[in-house]
């Protein structure tokens, strides 16, 4: 069963190209779903549509197997905690008063305010106004607000923005714990693959409003292995290609490099030896990072 299902979601701002182009999204219940894409890919627009902050133009959204509509909005929002883009914080109020605002709406016990402040490490902020918080502290307060009513689904848009490395690790561990111990489904967006892959079980990749990949993280890792390569920089790439083509038919010359699919290091050494023995100088052997960009390129081929 899926906590969120979006089908054929299309959105365009007035006088603009579509920001989202018929995307499908399925967030399995109990998963940590990483929603990955570069800035401007359409992540925030998708999340805003899922939460009803933007009026749906085309497509269907189902949350907990119910269509998200004005009729079901209130009951569904009771089960969702969210943090969209920059944290929403009343700068003239303390962290406690900020949370009391939402406690009154959610009607959760008052003691939850102290509990979630403790959970995100803001219990000691006392009467300090939230406007005087660092960006990281505001982000923590935003996460505390999202967790206040112990939701079944957390929707977090780039929640680690502004956090220092130890803060990022803390939040990551907190989200894992919430998912593991309370079974909360988490939809988290990011533009950093390295950050996401340490946390998520499932992943969706979006670029320029199009969904490029959706599935378990393991499947993406397999694709990344397929996308990995070894690059040789030689004095004569064309002759080098002719020499190894028979043994490695997928090899090709790209720009000024000879590219081969990822190989065991012994095989790389053997190729190097062969090229040198045939009088071709090898200036460098590199394994280009299979970063987000590479994967995008691979996925869009």
């Amino acid at each position: 069963m899926n906590a969120i299902e979006a089908h054929n979601l299309t959105y365009r701002f007035p006088k603009g190209d579509p920001v989202l182009n018929q995307i499908d999204l399925r967030v399995p219940t109990g998963s940590i779903y990483g929603f990955l894409g570069p800035n401007g890919a359409g992540k925030t627009t998708t999340l805003r549509l899922l939460l009803g902050l933007l009026r749906k133009q085309q497509g269907e959204i189902r949350v907990f197997d119910q269509s998200f509509s004005s009729r079901t909005r209130i009951s569904l929002l009771h089960r969702i905690g969210s943090l969209i883009e920059m944290p929403s914080v009343y700068s003239h109020l303390s962290a406690t008063d900020n949370l009391r605002i939402w406690q009154k709406v959610y009607q959760c016990p008052e003691k939850r305010v102290g509990e979630v402040l403790e959970l995100v490490g803001l219990a000691g902020t006392g009467a300090k106004k939230a406007g005087k918080f660092s960006l990281g502290m505001k982000q923590r307060l935003g996460i505390a607000a999202a967790l206040l009513h112990t939701p079944d689904l957390l929707v977090l848009d780039e929640p680690t923005n502004g956090l220092d490395p130890s803060g990022i690790i803390e939040i990551r561990e907190l989200l894992k714990k919430l998912n593991r111990e309370s079974g909360i489904t988490i939809l988290i967006s990011s533009h950093l693959l390295a950050e996401i892959e340490k946390l998520v079980t499932d992943i969706g990749i979006i670029n320029k409003g199009n969904m490029l990949f959706e599935g378990p993280l393991n499947e993406l890792k397999l694709r990344r292995q397929q996308a990995a390569s070894v690059a040789f920089e030689t004095s004569d790439n064309q002759r080098a290609l002719n020499l190894i083509r028979e043994a490695h038919p997928e090899s090709r010359v790209v720009s000024d490099k000879l590219l081969l699919p990822a190989l065991p290091r012994e095989a790389v050494a053997a190729i190097n030896r062969k090229l040198v023995e045939d009088g071709i100088d090898v200036f460098g052997i590199t394994t280009p990072e299979s970063d987000l960009e590479t994967i995008f390129m691979h996925l869009t081929k």
Partner: protein, 257 residues
């Protein structure tokens, strides 16, 4: 007690804690009475006679209300309504407010109710201030008697009700604009513009159609229009019109954060 509108109202009420608008209510409420008090104490020699005058209360209330209604009340309402409503834009909190499980209708009217209650608070503090203009000198100086004249309770209540009603079109239009426009200067600019228009247009034949004129009009127009135009009715009509328009525009807004 879990009544959804009440929950939303409590949440909205908490948001105004410590804001500039909340301070404006307190400072604005006591400002005119404080100035008048200083003036009366400055002319101390005539104070005892003023307190024994049969119209002691009426005179001080008339002076204070006139100063307040012509200038400070409209301006204060413009500023306070815009400040309170713009809290969400300023703090980037519309998205959190709109993803909390509360009805948009409740939100709209809870925010409006917060502003109206703050306006009532302002009126209460102002009346207390005017009372103190008379009571404090009598307490502080044995030579100044407490007025024998009965406190004109009915008159004070009537003025409060009339001027509260006169403020409502300003509240509703400022609220409408502040809900729609992110830039704080827009509602402020429109408000001040309409307020100045109401002062400039006071002598115009149809000045009673200017929605921001009813506070000052209570003192500058009422006699001229007596028996022909009901300013209360016009104020109530504008309030209803702007509130309905504000509600429709708010509900129909495509982007909610």
């Amino acid at each position: 007690m879990n009544i959804p509108f009440l929950n939303t109202f409590r949440s909205e009420w908490l948001k105004k804690k410590g804001t500039a608008a909340a301070w404006l209510v307190v400072i604005g409420g006591f400002f005119i009475p404080f100035i008048i008090l200083i003036g009366r104490v400055y002319y101390f020699d005539s104070l005892a006679a003023r307190h024994t005058d049969p119209n002691a209360w009426v005179a001080v209330f008339t002076t204070c209300w006139k100063q307040m209604a012509i200038l400070l009340l409209p301006f204060g309402v413009i500023l306070a309504t815009s400040l309170i409503t713009q809290l969400e834009f300023r703090n980037n909190t519309w998205k959190q407010t709109h993803t909390a499980p509360q009805r948009l209708t409740h939100l709209f009217f809870a925010k409006l109710l917060v502003i109206l209650i703050m306006l009532l608070q302002f009126f209460a503090l102002f009346n207390l201030g005017v009372y103190l203009v008379v009571a404090l000198p009598s307490l502080a100086f044995p030579s100044i008697p407490y007025p024998d004249a009965p406190f004109p309770f009915a008159m004070v209540m009537k003025w409060n009700a009339t001027l509260f009603l006169a403020s409502l079109p300003i509240v509703a239009l400022q609220y409408l604009i502040s809900l729609q426009v992110r830039n704080f200067l827009v509602p402020l600019g429109v408000g001040i513009g309409l307020f100045i228009a109401s002062l400039v247009g006071m002598s115009w034949q149809y000045s009673y159609t200017i929605p921001y004129i009813y506070c000052s009009g209570r003192f500058l127009l009422a006699e001229k229009l007596a028996g022909t135009v009901d300013l209360n009715l016009w104020a109530a009509g504008y309030f209803a019109l702007f509130t309905v328009a504000g509600y429709v525009l708010y509900i129909a807004k495509k982007e909610k954060g």
